[in-house]
Symmetry: C2
Amino acid sequence: MVDRQVCMKLLVVGSIAFDTVKTPFGKVKEVIGGSAVYASIAASYFVRPTIIGVVGQDFKKRYFEMLENHNIDTSYIKILKGKTFRWEGFYDYDLNTAHTVNTQLNVFSNFNPSLDENLKKETKFVFLGNIDPEIQYKVYKQIMSPLLIACDTMNWWIENKPRQLKKVIKNVDILFINESELRQFTNEYNIVKAAKMVKSLGVKIVIVKRGEYGAICFYKNRIFVVPGYPLEKVYDPTGAGDSFAGGVMGFLASKLKDTTITESLLRQAIIFGTVTASFCVEDFGVNRIYNISFNQICKRYREIKQLTHFEELK
Amino acid sequence: MVDRQVCMKLLVVGSIAFDTVKTPFGKVKEVIGGSAVYASIAASYFVRPTIIGVVGQDFKKRYFEMLENHNIDTSYIKILKGKTFRWEGFYDYDLNTAHTVNTQLNVFSNFNPSLDENLKKETKFVFLGNIDPEIQYKVYKQIMSPLLIACDTMNWWIENKPRQLKKVIKNVDILFINESELRQFTNEYNIVKAAKMVKSLGVKIVIVKRGEYGAICFYKNRIFVVPGYPLEKVYDPTGAGDSFAGGVMGFLASKLKDTTITESLLRQAIIFGTVTASFCVEDFGVNRIYNISFNQICKRYREIKQLTHFEELK
């Protein structure tokens, strides 16, 4: 189904972190995480993504190997003097909301990626994970002939750099955004209206993430709605949004040959994103999303087809 | 598509009320409402439902006419001395939660329906709206040869009459329940687990209502998930759950010829319920749900098919 050989380059730009997470179902300490890690693991089931990120000297060789073993190009990850970015947080039973306890930016505060000539020329697909919109814009500007660029964001940037964020959204093809963040960004409660407002800024496709309720996508004048995959075990939602975006972008990077994106392909990509996100939350950290097979992904895709199917009206 | 002539009798048991409602988009005072009214209006697009309910002397002739004009049998509505049930509430921007300001049961506190021989024999379908589970059970017991009985409930009964509610749930075929009420009833946060727990009590089908996020249905070992219909204008969610159940039950009553319910039919019914609920919330009170055509219902059914469609995996 997917031929990794002929795929064009997908860059995944974002954080690489050590996460300490507590949920009602357990806890983990300083496990590998970050938006670039989750997104690239999810994307790597479809293409060989290249991570653009920064780590400290405490980011051991085995972590590089772990990513490389998963078909991820780590050769552009920069190692800086100091410690890797750390995030600590917890979730209550309402797993839709992360509560941050502690953030240590460490080397991440000096993250300022400049691409080499090869990457500038060869990159066709970019996922700009949730980082400072000024850095997102800087990366965007370096790509010489992109086919599809997507960005994610979060409440912090909406509050503190709304102007810079708007500039990014004006220029990218896809915006991934949480429902509550979309409301915050537009000051409009109704999601359909809010998505239209964002689209009027220039972005082609708005994909609203709704946690366990799935996603809703706005493209041209059409809407696509998909529910979340119903799970009996949700252990840790950390990285779900990035795994979703990674699945979407990985699939699209494996399929798109030019800038023409069909609705049918976009919808399939969103289902694959729903699938990769659903695996992500089934265990702490990357434990589950790292250890599945492409067959399992396809099986769950077919299950979602079955879960949502109903007869046409005659 | 639907032949109302040959349909078997559907009873809709529940409240008939005058509602005073405020939302961020406006307010209405003492408009006709109540679970039996919303559910029977929604069902009346598919069959001629019979309301079992009680009103006071202030329930004017024109209200009876209004319901009769919508293909609803009002001949079993009892008029008692006193005033009709009144509910006053408001909603914030989060239209998923109703805040009650005032409830006056009035004649509703004496609601104790006993069916005549004709109804006992002829009734094949029953929707037991959200009322005291003891009364739900009493009505259930009177039906001599039912094909399908459904009930709804709410937090008040879960808190105050859990034992009686369990007895109802053990005996009916379909339980309609809100996501938050399902959690409260089972003391289990995960919806999939919670639904399984309820099914183990004996009810065949559990349909969990998720407000703007749609519904999820548990039948045998299968799950059906449908997102809500995305609306730009949601004015008043009052009655949405009852309009949903009314659409489901109305469609099933128009189609089922025996107790064998197919998954395909159930899924279609849930889409019709999603459609009738979506019309309900587009205006205050029954204004919108009362004034649509069957063609509009079918059009929206087809739109939901389009909104949720994606390709099979080859």
